[in-house]
Symmetry: C2
Subunit: 629 residues, 2 copies
């Protein structure tokens, strides 16, 4: 299967609602933020930085003309990328005009040699490429390259693609032709270069991606040496923790997912995207996938346990209340999954991709699309969360924007490109990895319609409106579904491999999939100290949580009875019509003593809501993992 | 009741064993550390600093002659204090000679004006008293004052007392007579000045203590202002967090125990020690006591939840695995309890004093007296504890010494002075707050003998060898004892007030107390999110824990059955003959998946040991709070 190679996806249902929300609310709001016109948030200065960089290139005096994080340019890139996906689904002249204007501004900020980065262009051009550890020049170039490809795909316009091709050639000259040392401090450009290569066929992009990946970890001291070569730095990192930089060993020898979680999964995505060119990367990618998904991942698909460095920690260190679980890290995990799927159609990748999306990624955004979580804990305790120093990162209300604003635009571009993760194709097969209502048009000419209100309901009907040159449809049967039925024109489907059902398709064929819609209790491995012996509810791909709002204010005093199955109790219209689940439980009596010999327990019905809907009704307690009896 | 006013205590039994251990092992070992002669640890340079300070005073060039923490002098003070208590119990000419030699060295390091602090004397005498926030000059003066009083009490020798009286007069001149601003960054001197005052009657000590306490918090900005007045600092603190410094409000208006836990309880001890001179301090002391013991204390008597600043955090934030629970903080909590008892004979103080001692304080020291914990978590997970950044402070093996070595000598002096906490007296009453085997001689002439192997067994026999001028014995009946019997010469005792039984005593009287020796389950308040719904075993004053060593390596997968009472299962001779307790439990099957729908559970008997004995048989998992079914 090729990655993200469908022609178009017109969404309906659950995904359609989210895509319209991003189109109508998130993209316009984020544009006002980029332009410093949002009223309720700090100025981002993103576009102003590009304008000032252009002035600096013309020799105009702009004073202290850079504002924000060193990687601020990437917010513009992610916004353009989200807008591009939106335009692909929903043509919109006004939005396209805004993007074109922004691209003009960006193009003006490019240096004569192809260099493009407002931080160094404004502050000190002599320092270009000398702080790869923290400078984020390659990271920003990667994001803008992704935006350029996406915008070209959506509109056919190539101005930004030309800018970023010149930029890539500049980097290629330096790091390949001229033999300049170094690797990206924050991997990202590797996967972006692969997108550029696959879209344009430019071999330099492929060689550059492979160069950065092959070099990585061959000298674990490299970043520390780079630090010692300069008398300044962006943040003061010493570069000594090579594992934090995923450079402690050559990538083919790496075994554990380490360090900054977003950097890690972006790197692994780039590695996986190269497997078809270099199969020697496959074993490492599989080991790193297992390290994450078998030892270092929350049930919500969240990764990166610790706020210290936004990082992976140790196997089975998955505390619910201090979890970091950056939204971007789960987005990156979806990237990694999608590239692994491209070389091995196995539901172990798509099951995780779906888990990350429907739980951590969606929880990153308020239901109204106006506020965002950067951090996605599995437990919230008002009075502690967001307040004490160990829990300061687990804020109890989604902020509107962040000084470090990577997550909101990242969620926007992911949601708008959902079709690329839900569907895939190769010469004779089309794939349904996830169940996304609407119509998808494949490059091979197949047109597939999907009718479903998934994940609210578990019935999915695919109609082959046109088979095109596709001979087969491969539909994922998720591991979480204990009982599934799948028929093609009424006949049971029997060709099952690695969790995918393969169906020979013909025009007009109707494929009906019914998945397990029962709520289930889940246990944590006894190897996870913080949640061993506890229980969590899931239904379909959705992890559930218990909020104080539905449970008399307090959830810590609830003990669930896992001898009784949880049951669907209805829909919550305030929370987008999601399915609510009730569970038999006992509530500890309150006491103002810290420790007592016994506590009376009263039977109660505890109500759970999908994790992605939490924190949409004010500050309240929340927990995914419940004590059980 | 007066605080710590007994004449002598000759210990036997459990306490006697600990005191002999401190005498035979801890005090000699710590002396080699002070002299930089310990082979297996880093040099402390404690005595060398005093020698170098004396040289500096004589104008000799000593180069970079200070080594260690700014408060390194206090290690010498605490060692002298421990040695003094040891000499009071076990006369020892060799040890006394060592102390006298050290006192000579210390006396030589005193400046002509009475100033005594090696850090500033060696490094920069012009900076004296200009960094009260971090400089620890008043802290070190306090500890040395305590040592001076203790050594005078034990031996009648007053050389160090004279040194510290001159030092006090120097500080009095500056801060009272000359009106210098400021309060101690690390409270300690307040309680030490009260000891000096009570021993010598020197009113300047009383006035100085009261001055520091009355001033505190009247200007919450004071430390921040002090920082702004200088262009250097010891550590770089900005002094802006007034609550961290217990100076956010005048002490009489403070309500919550805040900030650095040791500083807090040392301050509160000083405040409580002043109540008999200024009763307006009593309500604040009682509020702060309640804040700690009703909202911010672990079941082990540990306080200070967070490693960030070794500090109190928020009500009910008591995570077991990342707990800080500094040994010194629990020692300070015992100090605070002892001073509160002095003005109100209520078991709510002595119950906590005992809880802190038998659990956190004793756990701070390895059973062989050779290694020490600074941090006392309630859960240890090898692979995570001591390894990941959020758990780096919860090391899995007691180190021999620390760069910041406050706890080992603090534990030594506490254990050697245990009689002062166990017993008390006023004109006509002697008090038994705790049950410490041996013979105690009171100032009022009463000689009381106590025969017990408590806390292993729960039978305590007091014999009034001589009543002296004491008319009554007050014996604490702990709240944890669900069934207690107390007889005096065979007759039941009925005069019970605030958890104390009052007995009219006569020479030769025999008082027999039998306390509840059954193991019990305990519940955590549902207000404590991390342990709500969990269970811990206690027996008598001892909190128990489950170690991997006794439980097949793993304790996270155990779920205890609290419907069955835990039972005494025997004694563990390797752990000093402590009583072991068995509990019915289920063990989750192991799985290499993180999350599964169900786990088989097999019935097992789980074994618990007293918390104070944990980590004496190698690195292993441990937990106090268990999931229950």
């Amino acid at each position: 299967m090729r990655y993200a190679d469908i022609r178009a996806y017109r969404s309906e249902g659950f995904i359609g609602r989210y895509q319209r929300l991003v189109r109508d609310t998130v993209i316009p709001y984020q544009y006002t933020v980029l332009r410093d016109e949002a009223e309720d948030t700090e100025k981002s200065h993103v576009i102003a930085n590009f304008i000032n960089a252009a002035k600096a290139l013309r020799g105009e005096d702009i004073g202290d003309g850079f504002y924000g994080m060193v990687f601020q340019d990437s917010d513009a890139a992610k916004w353009i990328e989200a807008a591009a996906y939106s335009l692909a689904c929903f043509p919109d002249k006004e939005l396209e005009k805004q993007v074109d204007e922004l691209i003009d501004i960006i193009a003006d900020a490019q240096d004569a040699d192809g260099y493009l980065d407002t931080y160094f262009t404004i502050k000190d051009r002599d320092r270009r490429w000398t702080d790869l550890l923290e400078g984020h020049e390659l990271y920003c170039a990667g994001h803008m390259t992704e935006a350029a490809v996406a915008y070209a795909e959506a509109t056919g316009k190539t101005k930004l693609l030309d800018v970023m091709t010149r930029n890539m050639e500049h980097i290629y000259r330096l790091f390949v032709e001229e033999g300049r040392e170094g690797i990206p401090g924050h991997p990202e450009i590797e996967l972006a270069l692969m997108r550029l290569y696959r879209y344009t066929g430019n071999e330099h992009a492929l060689i550059l991606a492979k160069t950065f990946i092959d070099r990585r970890g061959t000298d674990p001291e490299w970043f520390a040496k780079e630090c010692r070569r300069r008398d300044w730095s962006v943040w003061g990192s010493d570069g000594k923790d090579a594992d934090y930089q995923q450079s402690g060993a050559p990538v083919r020898e790496q075994t554990d997912a380490t360090g900054h979680a977003v950097r890690a999964v972006y790197l692994y995505t780039g590695m996986a995207d190269l497997i078809d060119k270099d199969a020697t990367l496959a074993p490492a990618c599989e080991r790193l996938w297992d390290s994450i998904t078998k030892k270092r991942m929350y049930i919500t698909g969240g990764i990166g346990s610790s706020c210290n460095g936004e990082a992976f920690t140790a196997d089975y260190d998955l505390p619910p209340d201090t979890a970091y679980c950056e939204t971007c890290a789960s987005i990156g995990l979806m990237f990694f999954a999608s590239r692994m799927l491209a070389h091995d159609t196995d539901r172990r990748y798509s099951d995780v991709m779906e888990r990350a999306f429907y739980n951590t990624v969606l929880a990153g955004m308020q239901l109204d699309g106006k506020r965002f979580f950067y951090v996605n804990p599995l437990e919230c305790d008002p009075g502690i969360s967001g307040k004490v120093s160990t829990h300061r990162h687990t804020v109890t209300t989604r902020p509107g924007w962040y000084a470090c604003a990577c997550c909101p635009p990242n969620a926007a571009r992911l949601i708008m490109s959902f079709g690329r993760y839900a569907y895939g194709e190769d010469e004779d097969t089309v794939y349904a990895h996830m169940y996304a209502g609407g119509t998808v048009t494949f490059v091979n000419g197949c047109i597939l319609r999907c009718d479903t209100s998934y994940p609210h309901d578990m019935d999915v009907r695919f109609t082959v409106e046109k088979a095109g040159s596709a001979k087969r449809l491969a539909v994922r049967i998720p591991a979480w579904s204990e009982s599934s039925t799948l028929t093609a024109d009424g006949r049971p489907v029997t060709d099952l491999r690695k969790g995918y059902a393969y169906i020979d398709i013909t025009d007009g064929m109707s494929i009906v999939l019914t998945l397990d819609g029962m709520p289930h209790w889940n246990c944590a491995s006894p190897r996870i100290p913080t949640i061993a012996g506890m229980a969590a509810v899931t239904r379909g791909p959705l992890v559930y949580c218990f909020e104080g709002t539905d449970n008399g204010g307090d959830v810590a005093g609830l003990t669930v009875d896992t001898s009784k199955d949880p049951v669907v109790s209805g829909h919550n219209e305030e929370l987008g019509g999601c399915v609510t689940i009730d569970a038999a439980a006992m509530r500890d009596e309150d006491t103002d003593e810290l420790y007592v010999r016994s506590l009376r327990q009263d039977p109660v019905t505890a109500r759970a809501i999908p994790y992605y809907t939490w924190c949409n009704r004010g500050e309240t307690a929340m927990r995914v993992w419940m004590r059980k009896r």
